[in-house]
């Protein structure tokens, strides 16, 4: 009996021996420590006294066992009096005092709480993993060592265009771009041999519809406890959008580089936000004489400018725009509010010489934020030189014109003074010495004086005439003006039996200056009198017609006419006379033509010798 007590008390497991009244006969050290009974004298005490929380179901089990039953449980949870949970594996069976008589029960328990908690935790993390796997936006798959898709998530199916079943019938080798397969397989091999813990690569997968897609593949290898490779876990991330953008960027950059280097006479310099030069093209090297290695990342944009020009611009900016800038920001200050700025500057070459440029500075923005500047400049020396030359030519011409005008006025003024004196003196002479008036010599003197005065009057007309009178144009009633002119030279016409026929439409108005219009009409009427044919009843018919914004005033006569082949090119010249007529005024048509042109019109002429002449005067039609 004692031996069995000793056996029990020294057993390595948690084991206790009870009598028929459920009082402790013996308990192992493990039992005592498992149930927190250190220092408690339990031998001889009832189990139910030691653990008052033991319920009726347990007591029933105990009773069954005291009657010969064996009760076992792989795991059971107990709520202890202190509130903690305890997971136990247990075995309760009777012990026999002799062949037939039961002496009590032996309880064997094993505390499996730690193992049980670990199990529970594993379950939780597995379900978490499943959740991640299923709902992940990234494609995740378990792949066999041979490459078969063992388990795939929805994101992966979606990305590759296959259903789960279809994908699981394939291997990754079958849907990898041929150019990427070798690299992938090499990495797989490294992984299996344990050279790498995982690998990552950019590769192309074949979409179900036949096109390739870019992805980042991350693979790790799962091994069993013995270190044998089991399967791969692969993550597949879609990077097509990223690839597209990168591709566009590369394309843009290569184009830009092409531009940068092709412009051998255009300076293209980029700078960062501090103005430090970050690129310097061949054109900039050619124009400025620096090598790009001298400039890149060390010199600033403003260093190729003239300090005084920058300072002047700085003052301008602060005065005009109220922008306070430090020296270095002068070139870029305006770009805070506008996309680019174009101005003329002078650049300074490495050797200190200067040349004018037209410079456009553009802000390079990334998502609205300025990340740098691009300064594109063209050498405008030649343009500037030509501009200066033209300016000086214009200055010379302007001076010459002013001198000519001055000269014309002086000539007309001085001639006028002397001619005026001569004519006055002759008049006085005739008054004082009336008896010499009959002398032919004095008659000729007087005639010459008259002619001189007349010539000077014409010259004055020419000198005074403005090339344009647009600002003083008025709306004039044409019929009235013709009527007035007919009346004013009526006496002269009467002397020579010339008839004027005014057929001008009395509804018409033209743009004109009164004095000019009077002079024009009188000139043509006077011509009609002067060049009348003596052998027929002379007339001048004045008629009008409207033609494309103009009123055409026709002066038609039946006079002696002109041979247009001979006179066409000199008809309107200064001092050209075509008839043997004694009082021919060549200047008349010249002045008339200029007056008509000053009014924005023109003159056409048709004439046949011994039939007559038609002058067509185009004047601007004013609608009333």
């Amino acid at each position: 009996m004692n031996y069995s007590h000793i056996f029990v008390s020294q057993a390595p497991n948690a084991i206790a021996m009870f009598d028929m009244d459920m009082c402790y006969l013996a308990a192992s050290g493990k039992w005592i420590s498992d149930y927190g009974l250190e220092g408690v004298d339990i031998i001889g005490k009832s189990h139910y006294e030691v653990f008052p929380e033991i319920g009726e179901d347990w007591k029933a089990t105990h009773r069954n066992c005291l009657n010969g039953a064996i009760s076992q449980s792989a795991e059971e949870c107990f709520q202890r009096a202190d509130g903690t949970e305890q997971w136990l594996t247990w075995d309760v069976r009777p012990w026999y005092a002799n062949e037939t008589e039961i002496g009590g029960i032996i309880m064997y328990t094993q505390d499996i709480t730690a193992r049980k908690l670990a199990e529970i935790q594993l379950e939780v993390s597995e379900s978490q993993f499943r959740g991640v796997f299923e709902s992940s936006a990234i494609g995740i798959a378990i792949v066999s060592l041979q490459g078969a898709w063992v388990k795939v998530n929805a994101a992966l199916c979606n990305f590759l265009g296959y259903t789960e079943e279809e994908l699981m019938g394939l291997t990754f080798q079958e849907i990898t771009h041929p150019d990427d397969l070798e690299a992938d397989l090499a990495l797989v091999s490294d992984l299996i041999r344990g050279r790498q813990q995982y690998y990552q690569m950019e590769k192309r997968y074949l979409h179900k519809s036949g096109h390739y897609l870019w992805a980042i593949l991350s693979v790790s290898l799962v091994r069993d406890v013995k270190g044998r490779a089991q399967h791969f876990v692969s993550q597949i991330t879609d990077i097509n959008t990223q690839r597209d953008i990168q591709h566009q960027l590369e394309e843009a950059l290569s184009k830009l580089e092409g531009i940068l280097d092709s412009g051998t006479q255009v300076s293209i310099i980029s700078a960062d936000t501090d103005g430090v030069i970050t690129s310097f093209n061949i054109g900039a090297e050619n124009l400025l004489g620096y090598h790009r290695d001298e400039m890149l990342h060390s010199r600033k944009l403003e260093e190729i400018h003239l300090a005084e020009e920058l300072e002047q611009r700085r003052i301008e900016l602060s005065d005009i725009y109220g922008i306070n800038v430090s020296g270095g920001d002068v070139l870029t200050a305006m770009l805070r509010t506008q996309k680019y700025e174009t101005r003329e500057w002078r650049y300074v070459r490495k050797d200190g010489s200067r040349f004018p440029v037209q410079l456009t500075v553009t802000a390079i923005r990334d998502k609205g934020k300025i990340v740098g500047y691009l300064a594109i400049a063209a050498d405008i020396s030649e343009i500037k030189r030509v501009e200066a030359e033209m300016k000086s030519l214009l200055e010379v011409t302007r001076g010459q014109n002013a001198r000519l005008k001055n000269f014309a006025h002086i000539v007309s003024h001085n001639l006028r003074s002397h001619a005026g004196n001569i004519s006055v003196l002759i008049d006085l002479f005739f008054q004082e010495y009336p008896d010499v008036a009959a002398s032919e010599l004095v008659q000729h003197l007087r005639l010459s004086s008259e002619k001189l005065k007349e010539t000077i009057t014409h010259l004055n007309d020419v000198v005074v005439m403005n090339s344009t009178v647009e600002q003083s144009l008025r709306n004039l009633h044409l019929h009235t003006f013709v009527e007035r002119a007919v009346h004013s030279i009526g006496a002269l016409a009467g002397e020579h039996n010339v008839t004027f026929i005014n057929e001008v439409d009395s509804s018409l108005h033209v743009a004109g200056v009164e004095a000019y219009l009077d002079s024009i009409i009188i000139n043509f009427l006077t011509n009609g009198i002067k060049y009348r044919a003596e052998n027929r009843a002379p007339f001048v018919r004045i008629s009008s017609e409207v033609r494309k914004g103009y009123v055409v005033l026709n002066f038609q006569d039946n006079g002696i006419g002109m041979d247009m082949k001979l006179v066409r090119h000199k008809l309107f010249g200064m001092y050209k006379t075509f008839h043997g007529n004694k009082d021919a005024r060549g200047i008349g048509l010249f002045i008339t033509k200029n007056q008509v042109e000053a009014l924005g019109g023109r003159i056409e002429v048709e004439s046949t010798l011994d039939i007559g002449t038609v002058f067509k005067v185009y004047l601007k039609h004013e609608k009333n």
Partner: protein, 133 residues
């Protein structure tokens, strides 16, 4: 009816002065003449005359182009000379420059602009205007 007592000619051209005096006499234009050969001479003498108060001209026929002091310079100085008598000024010139004509109109004391040669007819018109004023 007002009659011109003293007429003043300011001109550097002796032939013009000779002819004009002759015509004035024939036309009975005025009682006496004052003749000056440039603006400076006219200004200095007229200032003294106005100060003394006798022989102050009723009318001045002023040329523009003259040596020493031209007609414009004379006008600019003469407007500053204080005088009680109304003095009518005619610009008499050979200049037909529209700028001169426009400029003459800007002087309040300039009555009119006469283009040479001065004939008896033109003097009669001036006389008529004077009498009407």
């Amino acid at each position: 009816m007002r009659k011109i007592d003293v007429a003043c000619i300011v001109d550097d051209d002796p032939i013009y002065i000779f002819a004009t005096r002759k015509i004035m006499k024939m036309a009975g234009f005025c009682n006496s003449f004052l003749v000056f050969h440039n603006g400076k001479e006219a200004l200095d003498n007229l200032q003294a005359i106005i100060k003394s108060g006798s022989q102050v001209p009723d009318i001045i026929l002023l040329d523009l182009n003259m040596p020493i002091m031209d007609g414009w310079q004379f006008l600019d100085e003469f407007v500053k000379v204080q005088h009680d008598k109304v003095i009518t000024i005619y610009i008499v010139t050979s200049s037909i420059d529209p700028d001169d004509i426009k400029r003459a109109k800007s002087y309040e004391m300039v009555n009119n602009y006469v283009i040479k040669p001065v004939t008896e007819k033109k003097l009669q018109e001036i006389l008529h205007d004077f009498q009407a004023s």
